[in-house]
Amino acid sequence: MLKFENVNVSYGAVQILWDVNFEIDDGEIITIIGPNGAGKTTIAKTIMGLFKPTSGTIEFDGKQIHIAPTHQIVKDGIALVPEGRDLFPRMTIMENLQMGAHTSNEKKETLKWVFELFPRLEERQKQFAGTMSGGEQQMLAIARGLMSRPKLLILDEPSLGLSPIMVNKVFEIVKILKSQGVTVLLVEQNIHHALEVSNRGYVLETGRITLEGASSELLDNKHVKEAYLGM
């Protein structure tokens, strides 16, 4: 479904991604793990066209998307729930969700589906997004991402800064999405949780993919255990 081929990305004079290759198949949950500053968010933003690769290609559903503008990539069926959530603070929950469905023609049905996943949002749809707690904002951000009915949903650090209860809720949602066949790319520092819900994972270190494999293998990997799981 999504394929990175020898992608290089620079920010000014600094190269952030080096010859990155990876693939996501239909219905898979994929995790990219790695330390802070490894370039995980850059991968997410590059998929969305917010960064342009200096070389290499990104293919989505057989289409080259690395040359497309962001709004076109969204239309093609990818949604990013960005790190830090980036909600519209002076808009209500409902308006944020409507923005999520900006490119979609089936707003009503999608809204029903999203409210089933996040009943709290339905109760409080007139509240301003800026006045919600961090955990609720993360739920809204995921819900907003789903409103475009994406074929691929990218979650960038969805558990960052959340209480343990909310972290569990986030991964609960990922599991539900998995059971409904939504393809998800998880970019996470909460490695244990992330690998538990995903099929496969990639380890990104200083801009390079250094390790890849089935999630269960990565959880057992010596390097991953030492460097990321503190074992």
């Binding site: 969305m48 709004h71 239309k75 990013l80 519209f88 603070p89 923005m99």
Partner: protein, 290 residues
């Protein structure tokens, strides 16, 4: 103490002057909110609005309040062109480029207008110019009441557009978080053009109302443009309610100042007001803390 009727009269004058500021400032804020660009040539756009209305009126003789909407469309399209082929080209290349582009536009538009239409003083004659609402001691010209009514109508339409339509919502989203709007699938380039078009159309309405109420020439926009900036800074950069309150406030303060202290203080008092507000609340009345 002045008579109450005189005070009411000054109040109405203040409100009409305020309406022109409000239309100018709301337009400027639309553009700033969505693009984070300050268009110093906003006063010259207003002047083009006045001239567009003047010439259409001159050749057709139809009611200038109807012409106002034609002028809004024409100047709105002009605004879109300026964005597309002017500001878009320098967007993100540094604030200085945007500032100089808009400063350059002031002189290009102003000088070209003088060249084409001379700097003679002109006026649009409203069919209601000799009609007044007679309330015993109090006389209010219909034109001032119509100006207030049209301003309210335009602002209400803008409010409905921004809150009730998909495109309006996308505009607000872009002004609140530009990158997030892109991630929702909004083509922000379209939003830039639209904000410039709407902002310029509002300036054209302000220019037409001003040209009906007072004589004008190609230099009319200079001080109006500066006042519009004063208003958005008093009201809080990017805040539309702030621009409305501050615009009306400035119109009233100026007109009462003229009455009590004389016309020479008219423009100075605007900056006194600005300084007072900035001392008390540095972000402006409705500005957000950053």
């Amino acid at each position: 103490m002045a008579e109450i009727t005189t005070l009411i009269q000054i109040f109405i004058w203040g409100l009409t002057a305020g309406c022109i500021y409000v239309l100018m400032a709301v337009g400027l804020n639309m553009i700033f909110g969505v693009m984070k660009v300050v268009n110093f040539a906003h006063g010259e756009i207003m002047m083009l609005g006045a001239f567009t209305s003047f010439w259409v009126y001159n050749y057709t003789g139809i009611n200038p309040y109807f012409i106002m909407f034609i002028s809004m469309i024409v100047v709105g399209i002009f605004g879109v062109i300026i964005e597309r082929y002017g500001f878009r080209k320098v967007l993100g290349t540094g604030k200085l480029n945007e500032i100089f582009l808009s400063l350059g536009l002031i002189y290009i538009i102003q000088n070209l207008s003088v060249k084409l239409w001379t700097d003679d003083i002109r006026k649009i004659n409203s069919p209601f110019s000799s009609m007044t609402l007679d309330l015993g001691m109090l006389n209010i010209t219909y034109d001032r009441l119509i100006a207030i009514g049209f301003t309210a109508l335009i602002l209400i339409s803008l409010y409905l557009f921004l809150t009730k339509t998909d495109v309006g919502r996308a505009l607000r989203a872009t002004s609140q978080n530009h990158e997030a709007a892109m991630l929702m699938g909004v083509n922000v380039n379209h939003m830039y053009m639209l904000s410039f078009g709407i902002g310029s159309a509002l300036a054209a309405a302000a220019g037409t109302i001003a040209a009906i109420l007072t004589p004008f020439n190609p230099y009319m926009g200079t001080i109006s443009g500066i006042m519009a900036f004063t208003v958005i800074i008093i009201g809080g950069l990017g805040s539309i309610p702030g621009a409305i309150i501050a615009g009306l406030m400035l119109g009233l303060v100026q007109n009462f100042t003229i009455f009590y202290f004389g016309g020479a203080w008219k423009d100075a008092v605007a900056f006194v007001l600005l300084i007072i507000v900035l001392i008390i609340k540095p972000t402006g009345l409705f500005g957000e803390e950053h």
